[in-house]
Symmetry: C2
Subunit: 412 residues, 2 copies
């Protein structure tokens, strides 16, 4: 039978009633002749509670223990979903990451899936099981420890299963009905997109439009997984949600597809770094090993053999970044006078494949921000996006002004 992957996020399984509603959608696909792999997140709020406890015990926690703790919420949902499906007379069972097994790297809290052997689950499908309910977000390392894939990792679990089982489609059920030109909570004129290109979705996801985890989109693009984002709270419809697809499949295209933001950024500056070949590697190697997700990087012009190095990362990783830098200083690998963290910044970006063939998007963006009196602290650009770091208090204003200026409420 053709395999369908259906992923339900935390708000879609937040209560027994919602699990039942999700199970009904699964039941419809089973009735339509699919074997279904259901990927579940933890019930809404559960993972945050666990993360909060870990952070309270130790801001510089052992990521292996963090993973063992925070992965537990998905196990609960998987069991509850399997029980609910069984109660509807659908042959189902739950699978935890280590049971499948979902084999990952040892990079705890940000592990990558290496392989998903399909034998165990396929054997059960061949014995009559119709639904495999898999705990998302988790796997096991070569050392047999539990790993997690980073926040939102269940999306990646879903796409990886769709690729491994050659699924017909991967439906991501969430609490929004698709991908918007920007966050409707910030800009009421935000418009739902029927289709969006993988590349655009990739930038939007990585830039903080929290609909899909970045790596899930990368994986979908690489393995050509048909990926659909849709709401678990609305009536089902063949064309519901937003289809993430190749850009060739999109007829009309605005120059800018959307405006994304990332609220909780920090800007860190190493003051007066001894400048020498290999200094960037000496700084960002240890940060990467410490699990710090460095995003934007700016290096000042060097004066008298010293320079300032600025980078951005999520606010909650500042302590870890500082520690890694102090250690690298102590061990003599790098030398700097001081380390300064600005934890009150946010990132705002405009994204669009159309920018490749249209000049002037950057100039227009800077003008709009300037007109609003918003100071730009750091700029980075790529072929299809422009990002700026600004004071967090101006974030909403920036998003609204840019959405207006690029007329994103209108279809091209």
């Amino acid at each position: 039978m053709p395999v369908l992957v259906m992923k339900f996020g935390g708000t879609s399984v937040a209560s027994l009633d919602r699990i039942r509603r999700a199970a009904k959608r699964v039941g419809r696909e089973v009735a339509n002749g699919h074997d279904v792999i259901v990927i579940v997140s933890a019930m809404s709020g559960k993972t945050n509670e666990l993360v909060g406890w870990v952070n309270e015990i130790s801001p510089l926690f052992d990521a292996r223990e963090y993973d063992a703790v925070v992965s537990s919420g998905e196990n609960v949902t998987a069991g509850l979903m399997a029980l609910t499906l069984q109660e509807m007379d659908i042959p189902a069972r739950s699978w935890q990451g280590w049971q499948v097994p979902v084999l990952t790297t040892s990079a705890h809290s940000a592990a990558r899936i290496m392989d998903i052997p399909t034998d165990n689950i396929n054997t059960k499908f061949s014995e009559g099981m119709r639904v495999a309910v898999v705990a998302g977000f988790q796997g096991i390392s070569p050392e047999n420890r539990i790993t997690t894939l980073g926040r939102g990792g269940s999306d990646t679990t879903a796409v990886a299963f769709a690729a491994a089982f050659d699924a017909e489609r991967c439906d991501i059920y969430t609490d929004v009905d698709g991908v918007y030109t920007t966050d409707p909570r910030i800009e009421s004129k935000a418009r739902k997109l029927d289709r969006i290109a993988f590349e655009e979705m990739l930038e939007l996801a990585s830039l903080g439009a929290k609909v899909l985890q970045t790596r899930s989109v990368e994986l979908a693009m690489r393995y050509k997984v048909k990926l659909r984002v849709l709401s678990s709270f609305e009536e089902y419809d063949e064309n519901a949600g937003t289809l993430v697809c190749d850009e060739e499949e999109i007829m009309e295209q605005n120059v800018v597809a959307g405006v994304a933001y990332q609220r909780d950024e920090a800007k860190m500056t190493l003051i007066s770094v001894a400048d020498r070949p290999g200094i960037a590697a000496a700084i960002f190697g240890p940060l990467s090993e410490a699990g710090v997700n460095v995003d934007m990087i700016v290096q000042n012009i060097s004066e008298e053999g010293r320079t300032d190095m600025t980078f951005s990362c999520p606010v909650e990783q500042v302590a870890r970044a500082e520690r890694a830098m102090q250690e690298a200083k102590t061990s003599g690998d790098i030398n700097f006078h001081d380390i300064v963290a600005d934890t009150d910044v946010a990132k705002v970006s405009v994204v669009g494949i159309g920018m490749r063939s249209h000049a002037g998007v950057a100039a227009k963006m800077f003008q709009v921000l300037s007109d609003e009196g918003i100071n730009i602290k750091v700029i980075t650009t790529s072929e299809i996006k422009i990002s700026v770091l600004i004071d967090r208090k101006y974030m909403e204003l920036a998003v609204q002004s840019l959405h207006d200026a690029f007329e994103l409420e209108k279809v091209a």
Copy 2:
């Protein structure tokens, strides 16, 4: 280094503060030169929440999924405890049941531990780890599914580890400061026992004095594990708590050691069963397979080849018991007219090794109950205990009257 097993129950790890307090006790034993295996329960209330969800989805749940769900609370505590110990600079890591591995039978929700290979944990001890924090209550079946050992199963986990690792002692930290002559919430004159014999503890545990899980005491007796029950809320003291030991180690002994009760019992009667050789096996075989814990059994005198068969079991297993009996009737294995459940009964028992050499305990017990106007529905006896099933509303009165009559507030 000598190994010590320390088990912390749900109330002892109910919050991060309490986990810290427990970790300090562990730290003291590490400082005293022990390698420590810490067995943890789920944070107080967590398992009940999970059990509630499962029951709400399906009263006749798949026990394999039940186990997958309810075992998650212990995993959380194990990780949090390991993090807390690490924060105190004590080398520690968490172990889930499947990681040790704790090998059990496939009897889900009531699995028995078959073996605990010590290699993985001992390798880590030899590498400098000082504390192995193990999630209690859980293991894996030969089919690689998660199993649980029944409510209170973490006690059994603790004793099994103490036996497997040849531990110096097994300390069970709980919310009471030892074993009492009866529940102090029911009888304020209840007295703490300094020592109690394995056999007595076994009867008290199985009869509902909820200090230790029955099987943990059986295991401790078989493997001669020095078992101590003590409070995690009181100042530490070498002689704190109650030591569960061989009767030879107890100098003075009352005839009756304690009065136990079990509140939520049900009395089930199969009316007019066709009486024939093997009928008991035909009834209690299927009940056992369905996971029903049958306790007392009474068979009426047979009339015209038919009899009534009465048994007791926990109230929450009544639905399962009825289903197993109806199925056995449908399949023709047994034949009865009706099945009747009385879900308003409780069990009260007096227990004491001294009863072996003292006559008249039963007579005195029946007289005391009769004087209070309490009707006895079922009686069972053993060498060292007498149990009666009575209406639940008289339970407290029965416990108090018996405690008084046998003068349990006084030391022998």
